[in-house]
């Protein structure tokens, strides 16, 4: 899939997210999710019965339970039966599936949501279970360790250094001061090494949260939103699973996804990058050829709030919301999954001329 055909334009028409917090133990997943679903529906005036297709993203490994997403379905009014799908991934990939569904013409509206509660388990350990089970997972290398290997590779390549990484952390969290949903806002100490060269400040907060967007096609989108955020292109690519096969200082999959999504056809003014670790922002800026004139992560990005499985969808939602309110005309949104930016999704969103 590459750019959407002109005869079927699809837009993000509404976005909502939780206030992301370290723990939400008093709420089950569906209890945490439901206010977000109501909010996103309220923004468009749609009822659950008006939604043609629903797609969600989440992970059983965060919940520690099989088929955990089926419980969250109660929140979308799953009876009588609805047209529904699920990805065991970040909600950005659920959005991709919904976008494809709308492209086929089988649906005019779609609700995409995702959620993750990291608080019940140890997310550094949980994420080891997504690694190659033969050669890597038995060593239990945690998510921070793998990100630190990437950071050191960048430092060795002179693409960055520790002060530059600290500046990335500080700029993102400074941007988050205007984001009421962010978990970490304003100055945060860089702290001690968690896994050298990454300090606590280089790492994302661990937290629980959920997000939802509504997609609509053509005139339906114009009815539901004053300034729809049209998805001009969206693509996702994956790299070899062997970390030692990859050049960790680069992200060819991001660059290819961006190319196929049409990012390089014209400049973007905003980029919402899903870079949970500071060093990953360095890799992504390079892969996406983002200049200093691009507003990167005005929301604070994943360094300010990283609800796993929702953080990528939130990047698309934040980019779209900026277009909705006229703060951006052409925005890039990026989502990642897997260790060291293994999988990458890139979308280009545009608002109509005002």
């Amino acid at each position: 899939m590459t750019s959407a055909p002109r005869d079927r334009e699809i837009a993000v028409v509404a976005f909502a997210q939780t206030a992301h917090r370290r723990t939400s133990e008093e709420l089950s997943e569906v209890e945490m999710l439901m206010p977000v679903l109501h909010e996103v529906l309220d923004r468009t005036g749609l009822k659950t019965a008006d939604i043609d297709f629903t797609c969600s993203g989440s992970s059983d490994y965060l919940a520690g339970r099989a088929f955990s997403f089926t419980l969250a379905l109660d929140g979308v009014g799953a009876w009588p039966p609805i047209s529904e799908s699920h990805v065991e991934m970040d909600g950005a990939w659920a959005l991709y599936e919904a976008w494809t569904k709308l492209l086929t013409g089988d649906a005019d509206t779609a609700l995409v949501y995702s959620y993750g509660k990291s608080s019940p388990g140890s997310v550094r350990d949980v994420l080891t279970r997504q690694l190659d089970p033969y050669y890597v997972a038995p060593l239990w290398p945690d998510s921070v360790a793998l990100a630190a290997l990437q950071a050191q590779a960048l430092i060795d390549a002179r693409d960055t250094d520790e002060p530059a990484l600290a500046a990335v952390a500080s700029r993102n969290r400074e941007a988050a001061t205007t984001n009421p949903h962010a978990q970490l806002r304003g100055p945060v100490p860089q702290g001690d090494y968690l896994v050298q060269p990454l300090r606590t400040g280089d790492c994302p907060p661990i937290g629980d949260g959920a997000a939802a967007v509504i997609l609509a096609a053509g005139d339906r989108a114009r009815d539901l939103c004053d300034r729809p955020a049209w998805i001009r292109g969206i693509d996702h690519r994956i790299e070899a699973h062997g970390l030692g096969v990859r050049d960790l200082t680069d992200s060819p999959s991001t660059r290819l996804a961006a190319e196929r999504a049409g990012v390089f056809e014209r400049p973007v003014d905003t980029a919402e990058l899903h870079a949970p670790f500071t060093a990953q922002e360095v890799v992504l800026r390079k892969a996406l050829r983002l200049g200093e004139d691009v507003d990167v992560n005005p929301s604070g990005g994943a360094l300010a709030a990283n609800p796993i499985m929702a953080a990528g969808l939130i990047r698309i939602g934040e980019a779209a919301a900026r277009i909705h309110r006229g703060a951006s005309d052409r925005a890039l949104a990026h989502a990642t999954s897997g260790p060291c930016l293994q999988q990458n999704l890139v979308a280009v969103l545009e608002g109509e001329r005002r």
Binding site: D74, G77, S122, V126, V136, L139, L146, V195, G242
Partner: protein, 313 residues
């Protein structure tokens, strides 16, 4: 309202996986202190070896031995080892390109501190004392003088190859069922059953999960239901489950508790299995110290009229 319930939840399983020819040779090699890579069409040697070329997707099978010495291509100092990691004392995570290989292998490096580690440093394999054919047969890497160790000259064919691995997984959680289910479980401890009424369709959900699946709205009004109910449908179980102390055949039923908007599951006792029927009126039987009814037994009331429960099947 009382605080939400919490309990430890351990998810643990031996993940049994079979190996293809390439992975089998590599892991068997580790058991025999031989490190094998695989040759790609363009002449590169991948270590650890994969079955398909990551660039061309071409199937790979040409095994080639590499040296147990190599070079660190990137590293990260881990001051606080976590459960399951290769060393229990602080160590460096490293990607190591073994001599003769074109790609790097992830493992641990035993070193006195971060000052003793740098990219480009020469290292060698430290073998585990007991080896079973797993990546952990490499205990870790250790610094060395940079002299390349010689391969053994192995062909990659083994007498007794490893054909599978058990990848043990264990994750520890603190499970909390959330607000609605906490209320349900707390009520059960007083032998009461509570559901929640949907503010929109007025249905009462038991057990409550905090949302009405029809309306997609939060439920919050607590309603006590039962204790009596009606069998809406049932099945006869003829297979004895392992570790289950119930004689077969027995009846497992959907029971609509009085006042509930949907049925829950329960075992029916106190009546021959072949006399259980739709519409049978039942009540819960509790045993001492139980957290939920052991089973339901007939109340002796006349059967419920089909029309009263047909929506709850």
């Amino acid at each position: 309202m009382s605080a939400v319930l919490k309990a430890p939840l351990v998810v643990e399983f031996p993940f049994t996986r079979s190996l293809g020819p390439v992975q089998s040779a590599f892991l068997t090699g580790l058991r025999e202190r031989v490190i094998l890579g695989v040759k790609t069409g363009d002449g590169r040697t991948l270590v650890p070896p994969v079955e398909y070329d990551p660039v061309t997707a071409e199937e790979l099978h040409d095994l080639v031995e590499v040296a147990p010495t190599g070079t660190v291509t990137t590293w990260a100092w881990n001051p606080a080892p976590r459960r399951g990691q290769p060393l229990t004392t602080p160590f460096a995570w490293v990607l190591v390109r073994l001599d003769g290989a074109d790609t790097a292998l992830l493992h641990a490096l035993d070193a006195p501190g971060p000052a003793a580690v740098h990219t480009g440093m020469p290292v060698r394999v430290r073998w585990a004392g007991e080896r079973t054919g797993a990546i952990t047969d490499i205990a870790c890497f250790e610094p060395c003088d940079g002299r390349r160790a010689e391969p053994t000259g192995h062909t990659g064919a083994f007498e007794d190859p490893v054909t599978g691995i058990v990848a043990a997984a264990r994750l520890d959680y603190t499970y909390s069922p959330g607000r609605a289910q906490t209320a349900y479980i707390n009520a059960l401890s007083g032998r009461r059953t509570v559901g929640e009424r949907c503010p929109s369709c007025r249905k009462v959900y038991v057990p409550p999960r905090g949302a009405c699946p029809t309306c997609g709205v939060a439920t919050s009004e607590q309603v006590e239901v039962g204790p009596r109910g009606t069998v809406t449908t049932f099945c006869i179980v003829n297979i004895k489950a392992k570790n289950l102390d119930i004689e077969v055949p027995y009846v497992y039923a959907h029971i609509a508790l009085d006042g509930a908007g949907l049925a829950l599951h329960g075992r029916i006792g106190g009546i021959p299995y072949d006399e259980v029927r739709m519409g049978l009126r039942v009540e819960p039987v509790w045993t001492d110290g139980a957290r939920y009814p052991d089973h339901y037994r007939p109340t002796g009331e006349p059967d419920a009229d089909y029309d009263t429960y047909k929506e709850l099947l």
